[in-house]
Symmetry: D3
Subunit: 332 residues, 6 copies
């Protein structure tokens, strides 16, 4: 199956070991971004994964492309031109000290790119699915127009559309985000969100607590935006090293809940993207709701154990965790 | 506010990753020492922080000075001359294997320095506070004389004096330490210690257990030495990777207890020094007793997440933890 | 006391930090193997430890030998010749992602070596003990013949023989392993195994659960093979980072159980070998059953905190843990 | 243009910095091999580059494939199956100490692969060129059969064939190599070799010295094997750090000589492959003989400045050197 | 003596070892920039060195400030505010492959800063010298205005002004640069340039070759802009690893030439800045013309052996080279 | 043959890459010292090599011992006790910047050890040769007494004695060194020195220049101290990266000169020790004078290409260079 993802890919710079920014004289460099991460996950799972973006025509742009090719993503639709590559600096937290993200992504080649630079017919040729996140429209007017263009192109071809709401307060205010994201929901079939985003962005406060409340949130989102599927991710942050995660799938008036995982985190970034990719994969492959949410949450869990933005877990590994005990025994 | 700290700064050499000494072919080099750590913390918190010591006039001495300047400490009062820089080797433990400290600090330029080498008037010009620890007098006769000289200079100028008792059994015996430390307490206004030190060094065994016992210890110390303030640190070592810490402040007959933190440790060294610096800061800025101890313990906690001896946490970060939930969520 | 160990030593290649194989562009290189690990442990404990193997006469073979010499193992009986050094690749897991071992050890110089290449008289001159594991006969016909030759040489000289059953499913099937291992048990005095191996390899399913079942397993193994001593290791894998371990010693109809340790793992490989070496040491030195199992399990625990295959813990450190609280306080 | 390369890709392990094998506890891991290096160069130059091999279906095989995808090679024709990935260890020399290569490539999945495992129609669909080296037939009977099959498939489709003679004395003897390589020359259009190989493998000793002798060698090879083009590489090894290189192209009875470069070597491996790829590129693009040899030698030169087996120099960079002064001024 | 430098400080990111950008997954991070480099050199030489810039009020801005403080620069006049820190990526070349600089410095906090944000009285209080380079006015309108303001403030206080012409073609065209730089020359007392800049920027083509031509260039510049002193740097680039450098000082109608150094380069960046700082130092300390140029060129030479932008050579070391033989014997 | 070496082994700490001390936050740790280096070379050459010293009974002492065992040195005669391990810091120079050695070796366990702590009978049992250097008596009174005791023990058993004069100005003055070294020459059979030492220490200024002068120096030393053999090393330091070396052997009134090598240096330390060890080896094995000096200088040359103090070159490698062309071609 062919899945299109559209968004920004950035250079991520992270001090080695647990050094703080003010100590750092070495940075680990990887490339990533919400939709790029989804693209790599899908390619690793064996799907035909096409990532669409614009990168500068310099070595950093090339390195970003190479990072995608390395893991099997189709990068032929990526546009190149003037501009800079967005950067984000990540300070790995520890225990009570939180991870810190410092964005230096303004004026990136992608955020300033124009919808007419992209070859939409080539992009959507044979496509089954389009995925985007709420980060892309947060990047400015042009990125918003680009997002809408992609959504329209998808809809006119009957391509399924999924959206990970992903509200980022460092990029725009809730006041800016709300109307844009609500407007884009008209194109969406599958929505990924969580409780606090549903409340902040869509103003949904469930009357009940616990699983009933979660179901209420999902049902409200689904109904308000006429969706097919809503997936919720749950995260309890014990500290910067230990998180507990789970998920829920809501379809056809029924909710399926996954088990909970307690994770010793290696890399906190990209868990939600791993979840999204695995969800798309499971839905494309006709997994049952229970299997779908189990697979997606297991992928999310495993991502936390992999360095970098990309989830490099295979379908076999994710299944082994979803159906196994997660005890991490040596395989020898 | 201008705070003076006096003591030894050493080169700390620690095998990379978790290697043991007998495996190590690379050492991470940082600089530190009880009072130097306090000096860096105070500079990071925004105070005028003056560190006084003697270093050899070679590149290692210069590097030690540079490490202080880097974080904003005033190093103009540091004396240079013949001799060596003290070294300590640190083997990072793990789980049931403890951290191991191997001192190679004998005959350092500082420990052999003479009180007449220092320009006391320049040092104390405009000073508000003097901090020292029980490590300095443990370094020998000259360091003891130097400490007393500094204490007398402080007292004659009405400068507040704080002492972190910090008994180190690898430097001197209890029999040697007891009379010296008790003698120096006459100059002290604020004393930082803990239960086991109070028992070993000052012979104080509380009649009660729990918080009542802690209050009894603090009150006894305060009354015996006519102090203004006593702060106690609490530590429960689960293993080399996980510790629980808290603290108590005793002033005016009243005790304030902080919350407990369970910490996944990045670097075990310098927590007490971070506590001391934050305590001085809070007292200088007129924090309430409850805020003071909360701030100092949060600083202690955060230090455990920072590599090296120095606590590079800002006042804003410490406040965020003291008033927050410590869940270490990503800030993005 | 002089202890002989016979087996394969391999180059172990492990991606730096927590990188996955598909990310790795740097590997940490150490050398190890079941019996080599026991040999290093015994040398570190102060015994006269002789390791017998065959390595290729190239720089990698030399480096393997050097790694043993470095820690005091007598390597003069090692044969050199044509062939390759076995390699194993280790991907360090994390949390729910298991460690992964990828063997590339086929056709090693050792596995193809002939019993006549070894100087058995020199090897066993003055020997007190021979240790082997179930890995060696798994390496093929020649390695099986070699193992039996060594066992016969030991028996004819009255040397005590210990065996760590160590069934490895990636090397041979249970159908292949069972008759071989059962046949070799006739030479054995001290057997190290665990519950699942006892069931898989020897077909022993205890009627009871818990400690009674463990005792039943040990007694059955001991009686069936006319052994002197049986030691069981217990491991509960919480996840790839956290394991709980303990052990039991069965001798003279009596079982001694150790305490349990919960370990934050630095390196998962070689724990059982550390256990075996410490067990041999304790039996050779006449420790009581309770002290023996306590010492062996403490060694196993400490190995998990040391990088590489080798346990570099001294007898003093192991005793400190066995008799201490395992709280990992800094020693300064 | 579509260029097919067929051969083995190996994991290359090289001690970090200038460490010797017996010192090494860290290896840098890259992937490479004569034909794989040519494939990456061609992809970097912008050609459609298809690499054909067999890798084991484990993570190392995947990592080798990823290394090719990263730089744009088409890896869809790579076969996967049982077996191991060949390894070569490289000890970087210095000054008078030579680089040392230690092969551990016997029994690799590729060397044991069967010609029937490959989809020759898909491989050669639309192909313009096939490149192979003398290393592949050196890997054994099966690899020889596989090579011949590929050559026949190429010839029957009118695909141009180039061969880099590349005799490796650690893989086979001259007696073994001579008849095989001479036999394969019947399929070849473009041959890359050098003076000492021409003498050792083809028994050609020029009557003259200097350029006349070089021309004589090329003419003899060309005429004996009815070739279209012969390219010679020249190398003068000053020491392990400094080499001088040049080249000659012989076509239509005329020789074109390049300039000489004196190189401070970063990585000695893969220079000849970079030369071969650039030669193919230049011939495919109709460069003049003088431009062709200039471009190929400049590519060879630049490869020596790039770490790893692959030449990551762009056509623009190679041209800049071929037409420039090689003074290495900063571009800012 | 108090020297003011004004300019931009950037984060410099350089792949480890000799990796190319497309290979890099680790970057070494240092901070630097033309004027910042001069400031650090002067502080290392023992002068009172004040660096004036604007940095973002985030951790990267703080880290840039810390890098200056570490080496003794007075950073109290640095402004903080909104914006980003400029970045430049440096790919270390080798042999015939040139170093490559990739600027990502547009829209930096400094380049957008306003002259009214700076406290000119505090900056120039007690100042003896102001140094700037042609890079600062290349950063845009605001930076140009800022530069002129600083120059006027200097002039009105009788502060000596030096300028390093430093034309950067990646920042502006010659057409843009020429009028600006010529205009600013009215404020300058001491000008540092080289032959090609003199030709490109000021249109000066000497009638003669060799030293006579160099003297002609210097005299023309000096006379045209009514300068006190002109210094020329000479560089012959053998390749990216080896350069030859020298310099000339022109004052009072007389030229002094230095010796030539052939350098095996460790880090190519910042040599000119080291020259400038040493020149200022020598002029401030009344060195003779011959000693001045010898000292400045020796500083330039030594900088090439130091990693990072900053020259960390002491006056003693520079003198030792200027008066010595440069044979690099071990000092032990 | 059994060779005894006696001296101090130190921890050597060297900043990674080419960092200066004031930049360094990582040090590479190796162990070495003049006589220890000779011991490792001899063990690598296949001799029975016994190193005698005293190390502290802590982990650093153990690590020093392990470094020797790793390469096959017999360490059973090493004494352990109170004290510290000497340290030396090495700043690797580059081009015109010299290597810098910073000693921190005062008060080491060895330098304070007493001759009665050593078991001389065990040390000299079966010994053929004793080697020492002028560094040991430079360490103080006790080390001088220890040296003389060893020399007397050697002489009384008819053991050949070699001495590398090795005057170190950072350890003692010429006035102190001269009488001590002259006194010890009475015990010496084979003396290694060079022209400047011969002049400074022994006051020998040859009347002639060039080879005649060298012969005159050697003859004078030999005759004055009644030696059997004198070896001279020649070094021309082009810069910190490039040296030229050669050597001369003088015996029975005849001099043999080696060829000259120009070396691109990897590690400058230990070349003379490699020379000494190879000289002893060649003399013990009855090489001709010409072969002896050729072998010793080739060993010296190769040491410069090996990181650390130890020369890890095999006899086969040294012979290959001595008889070869030193062009450093890849061996594959």
């Amino acid at each position: 199956m062919k899945v299109i993802t559209l968004g920004e890919i950035m250079l991520r710079l992270c001090p080695v070991e647990r050094e703080r920014f003010v100590q750092a004289d070495r940075f680990t460099a990887v490339y990533g971004g919400g939709e790029a991460n989804v693209a790599v996950s899908l390619a690793t799972l064996g799907e035909e994964s096409v990532f669409v973006t614009k990168v500068p025509n310099n070595e950093l742009g090339q390195a970003a492309v190479n990072s995608l090719r390395r893991y099997g993503v189709d990068t032929r639709r990526i546009v190149r031109g003037e501009g800079r590559l967005g950067i984000y600096f990540l300070e790995r937290g520890a225990s009570q000290r939180p991870d810190k993200v410092l964005y230096d992504r303004a004026n990136s080649a992608f955020s300033l790119s124009d919808e007419h630079e992209y070859d939409w017919d080539a992009i959507f040729d044979g496509a089954d699915w389009l995925h985007f996140t709420g980060i892309t429209p947060a990047l400015g007017e042009r990125a918003r127009a680009l997002t809408e263009r992609a959504l329209k192109e998808a809809k006119k071809r009957g391509v399924t559309v999924s959206c990970d709401v992903n509200y980022r307060k460092k990029l725009w205010t809730l006041e800016e985000a709300r109307p844009v994201l609500e407007h884009f929901m008209q194109y969406v079939d599958v929505c990924i969100t969580n409780g606090s985003q549903a409340e902040e962005v869509f103003g949904i406060t469930p009357a009940q607590e616990g699983q009933e409340g979660d179901i209420e949130i999902a049902r409200t989102v689904l109904e308000r935006f006429h969706l097919q599927t809503v997936a919720l991710t749950f995260r309890r942050s014990i500290n910067a090293d230990i998180n507990r995660i789970a998920g829920m799938l809501y379809q056809n008036g029924t909710a399926a809940f996954s088990r909970w995982y307690e994770i010793d985190i290696v890399d906190r970034i990209g868990g939600g993207d791993a979840f999204g990719a695995a969800l798309i994969y499971a839905l494309l492959h006709g997994f049952s709701p229970q299997e779908t949410i189990g697979f997606a949450v297991a992928a999310n869990c495993l991502k936390h154990t992999v360095e970098g933005d990309y989830n490099l877990s295979t379908a076999e590994e994710i299944c082994a965790l979803a159906h196994g005990d997660g005890t991490g025994r040596v395989d020898r």
